[in-house]
Amino acid sequence: MVTKVMQIILSPVLALIVGVFFLGLARKIIARIHWRYGPPLIQPVIDMIRLFYQKSVSHGSMFDLGLILSLAGSIVVVLFLPFGRIAPLSGSGGLLVILYIMLLAPLGMALSGGQGANPNISIGISRKLILSLGYEVPLLLVLLAVMTHYKTISIIEVVSSQQSTGWALISFPLFLSGLSYFLILPAILGLRPFDVSSAPQEISSGPMVEYGGKYLALATIEHAFVLFISIALFVNLFLGGAANPVIFFVKMLVVFVLGLCINAVFPRFRIEQAIKYLWKWPTLLAFVGLIITLAIRS
């Protein structure tokens, strides 16, 4: 009981530390790819301290509550994801619950932005929702293939059966799904080829345009959680999870750095180009993977 409570408190804190570290690392690595020296690794922490000490402007109660809703949704998803052996709630629910609660984060942002009443927010939110329509289809197909292959909806069981049979990413029918998940990962994270919703040069960073001070700090924390969640889900489903948090962290790091290399060199898609891409190659791969998995398993 005590260990469970400890884990419930500990795992969001761990996720936050890992997510914020990734934010700092992203700026450093992108700077190095651009042949710059780059900011210190703790620059996001410095920014957050500054933002928490700044005055902030609210635009109404929904503006506050939407942000809190999306933050709460992300924290709950973190509780359902195993991080090495730290898995407070993953025994109950499994992948289906994660799929449902993952929707809360963009929804909360949309509610919060709605009260901001800035035209840039509306454009950003509509782009964000269209983009999530784009990546939810392959994501659902991928998760369906994984659930069919292992005949379970529990993440814990997926991880433990991978530890006996090897990674899903290098097993025959599932490597198609794994590849598809990796292709949509930048879209889930909102990284460069798919950062249409928060494009600073086009729509003044979209949904974030009215956030300043504490709101921007909370939005940054939310972004850190989303980074953690989507990479941890990939590691759990396709890279076999890990026996201890350190190895899990190393696996996350490798996936994230690979994603960053795509982020640092590609220009931005327009929204219809992004949808065209997302519904073509990743969906095709995921669909073929699902069909083959079904054929083998039945």
Partner: protein, 190 residues
């Protein structure tokens, strides 16, 4: 980061974080903005010092006025400045915001920008080199350290006279006052 500063971080976290996280707003008022792209990209890389450009005034705390200010631009500058969240710092870049520069006898150019919004520091020159922005940032650090970068407090205290100057330049202002404009006269008439 300097290791000698760790004690300072625990003593005054707000001041230190303000120093090392200056987010400058994209605002191209004049020709001076041409010096900013080399500063933020790989030639001079301002991100080393925590200076990055952001797209909206809500996220920014550093306002670089780059180049001459026409009457029309002044309107946008004032609105942008008022939307920024405190504490905020302003730096005038180039000779034109200081005293009009080569537009000293123009009918349509604001000669002394600090009559309309408070300026924490100036970079003189036409054009200043990109290195001058780094020197300005380091001077701004010193000012923040000594509690001398108090333009936003001056703006709050003398809002009435600033507002009167703005109305003299622009005519009727279509936005409500940022701070209450009381009737009792204040010092520091401009």
């Amino acid at each position: 980061m300097d290791r000698n500063q760790i004690a300072k971080w625990f003593k005054e976290p707000a001041k230190m974080a303000n120093k090392y996280s200056l987010h400058a707003i994209y605002f191209c008022t004049g020709c001076g903005i041409i010096e900013v792209p080399p500063v933020i990209t790989s030639r001079w890389d301002a991100e080393r010092f925590g200076v990055i450009p952001v797209a909206t005034p809500r996220q920014a705390n550093l306002f670089l006025i780059t180049g001459y200010v026409s009457v029309k631009t002044l309107r946008a500058i004032i609105r942008t400045y008022e939307q920024m969240l405190e504490p905020k710092y302003t730096v005038g870049f180039g000779s034109c915001p200081i005293n009009g520069g080569m537009y000293w006898d123009s009918y349509n150019t604001i000669k002394h920008l600090d009559k309309y919004i408070p300026i924490d520091g100036w970079i003189a020159g036409c054009m200043p080199r990109p290195e001058a922005i780094f020197i300005a940032v380091i001077h701004l650090w010193t000012l923040i350290d000594k509690d001398m970068a108090t333009g936003y407090i001056k703006y709050r205290e003398n809002y009435k006279s600033y507002r009167r100057n703005q109305e003299m330049a622009l005519g009727e202002l279509e936005w409500p006052p940022l701070f209450p404009v009381s009737d009792e006269p204040r010092g520091n008439e401009q």
